[in-house]
């Protein structure tokens, strides 16, 4: 069964304390892996698409990496405004897109 699991469910960090969020997946053929940021009460905002193992993408303090079984979203020196829920989604062959349940990130000033 195709599955996407994000960990941890919630993470509290001090401002400037770098860390990583994990998205592990089991799908029958990967077409793409997506990361989104979601602020409370708003729709998910697209961050990155990764297509193949070894690929990396960066945006400001965020860096996404991909292996054959998981993706990491690395957050370097985070600020309070990085607090949000981060969602991972995977598109398998057959086009179905499966979302993880997200990691709630809270950055303390």
């Amino acid at each position: 069964e195709d599955q996407v699991t994000q960990s941890p469910e919630a993470l509290r960090l001090q401002e400037g304390e770098s860390s990583s969020l994990n998205c592990s997946y089991t799908v029958s053929g990967l077409r793409g892996l997506f990361w989104y940021r979601q602020d409370p009460g708003k729709g998910p905002e697209f961050l990155f698409t990764l297509y193949s193992a070894g690929e990396e993408k960066e945006k400001e303090r965020l860096k996404a990496t991909l292996t054959k079984k998981e993706s990491f979203l690395h957050i370097t020196a985070p600020k309070p405004e990085d607090s949000a829920t981060y969602l991972c989604a995977v598109q398998a062959f057959g086009d179905k897109i499966i979302f993880g349940k997200g990691t709630r990130l809270h950055i303390l000033p």
């Binding site: 009460g41 998910p44 698409t49 349940k101």
Partner: protein, 114 residues
């Protein structure tokens, strides 16, 4: 920038009412989606459409219907609203691409059924 616009941000409806949620995208995307998002359950796909007048059931279509008369517009219809349909509804669109189809979301519509 991709823009997906949901017509209503907040709605309060009575049980049994017919509810329309409208969504428009401005990027000429072929695919459009309706999800609902509930705490602890994540995003669940209600319906999607890959072309005008085409629709496919998602994971939780019961109690919902959809309409896509124009490429840019995708409507979600609750024929007879019930309290268990209180939720945040998200419209999304994506291009038809040979590689992964990035989905872009609207701001969401908060529906409360009383």
């Amino acid at each position: 920038d991709v823009k997906v616009t949901q017509s209503s941000r907040y709605l309060v409806k009575r049980t049994g009412e017919k509810v329309f949620l409208e969504c428009v995208q401005d990027m000429d995307h072929e695919n459009m989606f309706w999800y609902r998002q509930d705490p602890g359950l994540g995003l669940r796909l209600i319906y999607f459409s890959y072309d005008v007048k085409m629709k496919e059931k998602g994971d939780i279509p019961e109690g919902y219907s959809v309409s896509r008369e124009k490429k840019e517009r995708f409507s979600l219809i609750l024929e007879s609203a019930s309290t268990n349909q209180t939720s945040m509804y998200l419209c999304a669109s994506s291009p038809l691409a040979p590689s992964g189809n990035t989905i872009y979301f609207g701001e969401g519509s908060w529906l409360t059924v009383v």
